[in-house]
């Protein structure tokens, strides 16, 4: 079991955003987290990745307790993520962005840089290579020299995925990877995500577009008002009356 989420709760003052949620994510799985707006899906991702601490509950990743770890430590342990509003290093090149994805695997310090040690040069080359690989994987290698903020929306989303992939993580959290993207592009992204799964990445996916989720996910967790109301295969979940009620019939449309 790669990720164990146990009784995770997050309170913001009086508001309970995530309420006693538990589920498991096995290695190699694609798990989708769905729910109406405001259900707490992105908050859940923020808790898992360590963006802010949970109020109570526990998170175990690869059998280690990551509940109170800071975000960068969790990232180094092998959890990568994309953000709901595409988060990039907008003023750097696409290649620089991808290089930052791999950055955590390089140990070079300031002194390595100043003295041009063999380690510095080797790691720089390694990072470049990993970055190009990731850009290739995401299908945006031709854009490598462009400034990240200047490429089209859809390419930016691919870049966010490339950054996550460059980190060579074990678990990737994708937060609404196809928000604001055309249905044609959605199909391409779905193929990309399937490719990621085939490559061995475990994926957790927050998404609204049911077409993407139903065709992709191995299992689904449904959140509503911060609580888990259903969990199961796409078939089971789409037939669940509680789920249907929560969505009021929107479940079968994309």
């Amino acid at each position: 079991m790669l990720l164990r989420v146990r009784n995770i709760t997050k309170r913001f003052g009086g508001l309970v955003a995530v309420d006693d949620v538990s589920f498991d994510v096995p290695a190699g799985h694609i798990k989708a987290i769905i729910g109406p707006n405001g259900a707490g899906k992105s908050t859940l991702f923020n808790l898992i990745s360590g963006f802010y601490p949970s109020t109570s509950g526990s998170l175990r990743f690869e059998d280690a307790d990551i509940t109170h770890m800071p975000m960068h430590t969790i990232a180094r342990r092998g959890i990568a993520r994309t953000f709901q509003t595409t988060s990039l290093f907008k003023h750097q090149t696409v290649l620089d962005n991808a290089m930052m994805g791999y950055r955590m695997h390089a140990e070079s310090t300031l002194f390595d840089a100043l003295l041009r040690t063999p380690r510095a040069r080797r790691e720089e080359a390694e990072t470049r290579e990993a970055a190009f690989e990731a850009l290739n994987f995401a299908g945006i290698e031709p854009l490598a020299a462009r400034i990240a903020g200047s490429i089209p929306q859809e390419a930016q989303k691919r870049l966010a995925i490339a950054i996550a992939v460059a980190a060579k993580p074990k678990l990737i959290l994708l937060d609404e990877p196809v928000a604001g993207v055309t249905s044609e592009e959605t199909l391409e992204h779905a193929a990309l995500i399937r490719h990621m799964a085939r490559e061995g990445y475990t994926i957790c996916l927050v998404e609204h577009k049911m077409s993407l989720v139903m065709g992709l996910a191995d299992s689904i967790v449904v959140l509503h008002h911060g609580k888990k109301i259903a969990e199961g295969t796409p078939g089971e979940v789409s037939a669940d009356p509680a789920v249907i009620e929560a969505y009021l019939g929107a479940a079968t449309h994309a």
């Binding site: 990745s49 963006f51 800071p70 975000m71 960068h72 990232a75 180094r76 990568a80 993520r81 953000f83 988060s87 990039l88 290093f89 907008k90 003023h91 750097q92 620089d96 290089m99 930052m100 994805g101 950055r103 955590m104 390089a106 070079s108 310090t109 300031l110 390595d112 840089a113 100043l114 041009r116 510095a120 790691e123 720089e124 990072t127 020299a145 950054i163 980190a167």
Partner: protein, 311 residues
Amino acid sequence: MRRVLWILAAAVAVALPFLVPKSFYLQIIASAYITAIAVYGLNVILGYTGLLNLGHAAFFGIGAYAVALLQTKAGWPFWPALLAGCVASVVLGALVGMVSLRTRGNYFAIFTAAVGVMIAIVFTNWQDLTGGNIGIVNIPPPPPIGSLTFDGDVPKYYLVLAALALTILICVLVRNSLIGRTFVAIADNEDLARATGVNVARVRLTAFMLSTFLAGLAGGMFAMYNGNLGPDQTGLDITFEQLLYLVIGGIGTIAGPLVGTLVLVEISQQLQGVEQYRFLIFGPMLVLLVRFFPLGIVGGFNRLTARWVRP
């Protein structure tokens, strides 16, 4: 193309003592070099890492006073004194950095301004040690290396030039390295940097320490070059002036600090008798730049030439 410009500039710099008849002019340029070293330090923390350290001049003071005091009061020769000065700046930078970097944005600027002013107050008031407002005089020049003596304008000029070249080299190496990219990434998007495994606090501290190192180096050079030193070099107004040079030259660029300093020093020179009024122009210039042209001279130049070179 850029490389050609650098080689040209280096050639002019090396040949300068033979190109200018008046040693007065050489002094101006050498002083500009010293200021530029400090501005390079400011560029590392502000230009690369996005943090405005308003106490920057205080670290300049640490390096300067270390060199001055160790030489005049403890009898140290120049080189170990300079090393000690740089170390002191880095150590103090680490201490200040560890505390100040827990604050954000505006608070960081205010906090570092306060720390800087406190240090400047110590320089001004600790009469016994620092000589108060009068400062320290008769700082001996560096001891001769072999047959090379350092008590003339020309050898001192080359010493300063060497320090500047070292500074630029450091900045180039850092900017193109993984750690330099990390500085810039943190300034660009701190949350994403964290998500890619960067220990933001630790990297920021590294940037801070590098910047104070350069400030201390500049300070040490100042003490050496001028032979005397007062607390007026360490105040908030000095940091503000260095900020001006940086913004005009081009924040975040490699040539910016040098270009900005040289250009403004040159303009101040041209103003001859009215140079004390230079801020009547520089002040609004800074506002206009920040509003309309934040790239500065070198940044704008880069943007222009990038269009020519890359389609």
